[in-house]
């Protein structure tokens, strides 16, 4: 009897030959990724619509003039400063999140707890800043379906502080609606992220991951948290810079 194995009988060991996960990624993590891809489409649709509106109008509110307050410090004259602080806070909390994931790889529970608490604080600070920003704009008269209005003063005069070129009520209204919708949807995501962070912090403290032998759940929640940061990078560019 021949002992040589024919080419067909050889056991295939390729990535896609079966018997193992071709992606080498745990199921829950794959699903988190696919959820984030779908969420990316939602945010893209919002931002692309904002771009379309802005492109379709001859004039648009100047972000440098709309966002120029620093709460508790100055009411006007400092464009981009406050949103700069917010951006820094969110990037920083993203870093503490990766550090938590990195500590999780080493099964270092204490470090995971420390970095997760830092991440939660960063998230709360960001949401707090956004609340201040919303309050400021709301006081000026911007809201869903409303723009600054003064009795007996022409709209052009009332809106003049927010425009550099021509003044348009329709543009101002579109700007207000889209600003509150998009930053609101993002803020909602951040809030959910904080909640998830608190849950996994609780699970870490309860030694759930210690018993499981893996801190993979921190990684999955971390993916979501980084995605929230990623969206902010785009919101920041299209609402505040461009």
């Amino acid at each position: 009897m021949s002992t040589t194995v024919s080419q067909l009988d050889k056991v295939k060991t390729g990535r896609w030959s079966g018997g193992r996960s071709p992606f080498d990624v745990e199921y829950g993590k794959i699903m988190m990724w696919f959820f984030l891809v779908s969420d990316a489409f939602t945010f893209s649709s919002f931002l692309v619509y904002y771009g379309t509106q802005r492109f379709a109008h001859l004039t648009w509110p100047d972000p440098d003039k709309v966002f120029q307050s620093v709460p508790f410090i100055a009411d006007s004259g400092y464009p981009l400063v406050f949103v700069g602080i917010m951006t820094f806070i969110l990037i920083m909390s993203s870093v503490t999140m990766v550090l938590a994931v990195e500590a999780g790889h080493r099964n270092a529970k204490k470090e995971v707890v420390g970095w997760m608490i830092a991440t939660i604080i960063g998230g709360l600070m960001f949401v707090g800043c956004q609340a201040l920003e919303w309050t400021h704009l709301h006081h000026q008269g911007f809201w869903w379906g409303s723009i600054p209005y003064q009795e007996g003063v022409s709209p052009a005069e009332t809106l003049a502080p927010y425009f550099t070129n021509g003044i348009s009520e329709v543009s101002a209204q579109q700007f207000a609606n889209l600003f509150f919708t998009i930053t609101g949807f993002h803020g909602f995501h951040v809030s959910v992220g904080i909640l998830l962070n608190i849950i996994v912090l609780g699970m870490t403290l309860a030694n759930t991951f210690e018993r499981r032998g893996t801190y993979l759940m921190i990684e999955k929640v971390g993916l979501y948290w980084h995605f929230v940061d990623l969206v902010w990078v785009f919101v920041f560019t299209f609402f505040y810079l461009v």
Binding site: R15, D24, T52, F55, A56, P79, G213, D229, L230
Partner: protein, 126 residues
């Protein structure tokens, strides 16, 4: 829970998957992100506000390129996608081509609105 543990580590023979982020690498990426953001602020506050360059298409293109660079660093390093398998990277990123398609469609639509609606009073231009 012991069986669960085994499931999760079963695929970890792959070395490339495990050489993830070290602390030093994380901080390096953080400083890249910080530097790009600082550059954006420099362009916005010093160059544009100082009147050295005018707001317009060129500046916006620079902003968008810097944004995409930041997005790359976040997705590749913080979200660890660079260290996943080729198949996984493709299955999560190639589909975003539809976003590009949407942008093209909506720019066409926007150009139509701009040229057809603006002259009428219900779409005030001034």
């Amino acid at each position: 829970m012991a069986s669960n543990h085994q499931d999760n580590t079963a695929g970890h023979e792959d070395v490339a998957h495990h050489e993830g982020m070290t602390k030093g690498k994380i901080w390096r990426v953080f400083f890249y992100l910080l530097a790009i953001t600082a550059l954006e602020f420099f362009i916005a506050l010093v160059l544009v506000h100082g009147g050295i360059i005018a707001k317009g298409l060129a500046v916006n293109v620079v902003y968008i390129l810097l944004t995409l660079l930041k997005a790359y660093y976040i997705v590749a390093y913080f979200m660890h996608l660079k260290f996943e398998t080729f198949g996984f990277i493709m299955s999560t990123t190639v589909v975003l081509i539809f976003v590009v398609y949407l942008i093209v469609l909506m720019l066409t639509e926007g150009a139509y609105m701009k040229s057809h609606f603006n002259p009428f009073s219900f779409w005030p231009s001034t």
